[in-house]
Symmetry: C2
Subunit: 408 residues, 2 copies
C-alpha cells in the first residue's frame, strides 16, 4: 500500500459534477488501501475571474492584497472536494497552505517555498483521513498569505510529496500525459510512457504546458517520481523520473510561439557593453535567451537576443530610452518568430541528431535564424509561419520513423 500525493488542476474540479467525479476517483484509491493527500487548484476560471475583479477596482493592486484575494479560490475548491468525499462515506479534511505549514518567502504573487512542517497533515494521514490541501499558496514568516505564482499548485504537490515522504506524486490534468509533440499540430503524436526530469524540464520551459518547470526541478532534486495523467479517464499517463543510462533518443518535438527577437546594432566593441544591456533587462525582471553577439566590424558589434512576448513592449521601451547610453545605432525587432526544439537525453552528445535536424528543416524550406543547444535539447529560432510544418517534419523524422525502425 502506497502513500500517494495527487494534484487536480482547475479544469479537473471545474464544476460540481467534476468535483464529484474527482471525489469518486479519490475514494476508489483510498478504498484500495492507499494513503492519499490531494492538492487542488481553484475551480476552472476562478483565478482569472478574481483577477478581473481586481482590475475593475484598482489599476495597480498591492501584491499582498492580490495574494489574499487569489488564495480564496483554492479554499472554495478544497472545501467542496472534502465535503464530496465525506459525503461518500470516506473521512476527509481540508487545509489551507498556512494550516499545512507551507512556509514561503515574502515575495507576494511569486513566493518560493522555504520549508514545509506538515504537522497537521501528518496527523490527519495517521488518522486514516484523506487530506486535501490548497495548492498555489503558503504563509510567510510575517504570517502573510502568499501565492506561488502560476503553476504553483504543481509545486505544492511535489513539495508536499517530498516533505511527507510520499511514494509518488500524480499530476491529474485534462490531457492523457506528456506527448512527443503537440497533438493539435502533429496528428500522430505519441503519448510518452516515460521521460526524464531533464527532458520534462526542457519541454516545460520550451512551451509544453503540462507540468510547471519549478515542480520538475524540485522533483529532480529529491528524485520524486511524477505521473502525469488525465483526471477524465483511467488511461496510463507518463512517468517522469530519473534518467536511465540509455542510448541517445529524441523524446519529443516542442515549440514556443510566444517569443520575440530584439537586436541592438552597432554597439561599441568595448568590455562591459553587453553587461550593461543585460543588467538593464535583469533589473526589470526580463529574462533573455539566445544571446548572440555578432563579430566586430570597425569596432562595432550587433547584440541579438529573444524575450518572452509578454515582456516585448517593456524591453523595447527600456532599450529605446537607453540607446544613447548603450551607444548603439538602432533597435531592430521581430515578433513573428518562434523556437522549435528537439528534446531527448544525449541529443547533443550525438552529432548525427543536429545534422538530421538541419537537413529536415532545409527539406521543408524552413530557414534557421539562431541555434542554441543544451545538454538535452537542440533549439532553432525560425519564422513563426514555419512552425507547424517544421514540427510535423521533425516529428516524422525523429519519432515516427525511429519507432517504425525499432519495430522492424
Amino acid at each position: 500500500m502506497a502513500f500517494i500525493v495527487q494534484k487536480y488542476g482547475g479544469t479537473s474540479v471545474g464544476n460540481p459534477e467534476r468535483i464529484l467525479s474527482v471525489a469518486e476517483r479519490i475514494v476508489r484509491l483510498k478504498k484500495a488501501g492507499h494513503s492519499v493527500l490531494v492538492v487542488v487548484s481553484a475551480m476552472g476560471d476562478t483565478t482569472d475571474d478574481l483577477l478581473t475583479l481586481a482590475r475593475e477596482v484598482a489599476s495597480d493592486p498591492p501584491k499582498r492584497e492580490l495574494d489574499m484575494l487569489l488564495s480564496s479560490g483554492e479554499r472554495i475548491s478544497m472545501a467542496l472536494l472534502s465535503m464530496a468525499i465525506n459525503d461518500m462515506g470516506v473521512s476527509a479534511v481540508s487545509f489551507t497552505g498556512s494550516q499545512s505549514g507551507i512556509l514561503t518567502d515574502t515575495s507576494h504573487t511569486e513566493a518560493r517555498i522555504l520549508s514545509i512542517s506538515g504537522t497537521r497533515l501528518k496527523e490527519a494521514i495517521e488518522k486514516d483521513k484523506v487530506v486535501i490541501v490548497a495548492g498555489f499558496q503558503g504563509c510567510s514568516h510575517e504570517r502573510e498569505v502568499t501565492t506561488l505564482g502560476r503553476g504553483g499548485s504543481d509545486t505544492t504537490a511535489v513539495a508536499l510529496a517530498i516533505a511527507l515522504k510520499a511514494d509518488r506524486c500524480e499530476i491529474l490534468t485534462d490531457v492523457d500525459g506528456v506527448y512527443s509533440a503537440d497533438p493539435r499540430i502533429v496528428k500522430n503524436a505519441k503519448k510518452l510512457d516515460y521521460c526524464s526530469y531533464d527532458e520534462m524540464l526542457e519541454m516545460a520551459w520550451l512551451g509544453a504546458k503540462v507540468l510547471h518547470p519549478r515542480s520538475v526541478e524540485i522533483a529532480k532534486k529529491f528524485d520524486m517520481p511524477i505521473i502525469v495523467a488525465s483526471s477524465f479517464n483511467d488511461n496510463k499517463g507518463t512517468l517522469v523520473k530519473g534518467e536511465d543510462m540509455e542510448k541517445a533518443e529524441v523524446r519529443a518535438i516542442t515549440f514556443n510561439r510566444e517569443i520575440a527577437k530584439v537586436s541592438i546594432t552597432e554597439v561599441p566593441d568595448v568590455p562591459g557593453t553587453a553587461a550593461s544591456v543585460f543588467e538593464l533587462l535583469s533589473n526589470a525582471h526580463i529574462s533573455c535567451s539566445f544571446i548572440v553577439q555578432s563579430q566586430s566590424h570597425h569596432g562595432k558589434n550587433d547584440i541579438t537576443f529573444t524575450v518572452n512576448e509578454k515582456d516585448f513592449k517593456a524591453t523595447m521601451n527600456l532599450l529605446e530610452s537607453n540607446l544613447k547610453k548603450i551607444g548603439g545605432k538602432e533597435i531592430i525587432s521581430d515578433i513573428n518568430i518562434a523556437t522549435i526544439s528537439v528534446v531527448g537525453t544525449g541529443v547533443v552528445r550525438d552529432p548525427r541528431v543536429a545534422s538530421r535536424v538541419f537537413k529536415t528543416l532545409a527539406a521543408c524550406e524552413t530557414n534557421i535564424d539562431l541555434i542554441s543547444s543544451s545538454n538535452i535539447t537542440l533549439t532553432c529560432v525560425i519564422k513563426e509561419r514555419d512552425v507547424e510544418k517544421a514540427v510535423q517534419q521533425l516529428h516524422k523524422e525523429f519519432i515516427i520513423n525511429e519507432n517504425s525502425e525499432r519495430l522492424e
Copy 2:
C-alpha cells in the same frame, strides 16, 4: 478626530462599482483625519452561491468544511476593498478573522467570539493605515477557521469596536436607518434619529432585520454606540445607544410573520409535564415563545406556544412521536399567525399604552390570540391576514398622532 469602526454589508459591496463607491466613502472619512477600521461581508449573494455549491456536492457537508468554504467570501471582498482604497492613494491593509486574532469557540457555522487580540490591527492603525477585516469569521483555539452564523459581520464589527476602544461603530447597509415601522407596509413610517439598545434588541428579535441582535447585546453590555445608516447616500442614520431617562415613548411598531402556533391538548396537570415538553424541544435546538398553559379542567391542561416557522415541521414531528409519552390528547397547530409589537422604553410601565393597543386593534377588527410583554414591548399574536392593517393603525395611533401632538 475619532476612531471609527464601519461595517459594510453584502449589498453595499455587491459589485466592483459598489466597492469603488464604498472605498470613496472610506477615503473621505480617513482624509477628514479619522482612524478607520472597516469590517466587510461577502459580496452580494456570494454566501448563498457557495452554499448552493456545497449542496450540489454533498447532502450533509461537515460544518468544519462549510466554514472553510464560506469564509472565503469575505476574503474576496476585503482584498478588493483594500485594493480600491490603496488605488485612491490611501494606504489600506486587509486581515482575515484569524489574522485579526478573533478567537472563537469551536461551534462551527455558529461560533461565539471568546476574545480578540487585534495586535496586527492595532499596529496597522498606528501606522495610519485603513484596516479592513473579514466579517463573520474567526479562528478557534484548535486553529480551525470558524464562522459566526448569519448576521455575524455585525457582531464582528461591534466586538472589534469594543476590543480596540473605538469611539463608535457604524453599520452601513441598504436602508437609511431604523424605522418606526416597515416602510413597505406603513407609508409614513419615520426614520428614528435615536433608539435605545433594548428597543433595538426587541425590534431585532421581533423581525426588523436591520441589525443582528447578538451585535446589539454586545454593544449594550459594553455601551458601544452604534449608528445604522445607508451606504448608498449620506443621510443621517439612527443612533443606537444607552437609554435616556425619558418619559414612556413608543418608538416603533414591528411584526413577525414567520411564526407558527402549536397546542397540545389535555395533558395531565402534574408537575413536570410542561418541563418534559420543553426539554424535548430544547434538545432539538428549537426555541419557543408565548408559552401559555391554560387552566386545568378535570386535571387536564392545554399547553400552547409559538415557534419559528422554519422549526415548525421539526416541532410537529417531535411532538407527534412523543404524544403518548407526554400524555396529551392531540396536537393543534396554526401557521397563519403573526406577532405584532409595540416597542418603546417604559411601554409596559405605562398602563395607558396597553389599553390604547387593545382599543386600536379592536377598532380595526383584529382579534388578539395571545399577549406577552417584556419591559419595553407589548406583543400580540394575531391572524397573519390582519398584520398590515394592524401595523398601519398602531403606527398611526402611536407614532404619527403622538408626534403631531408634540408639534402642536
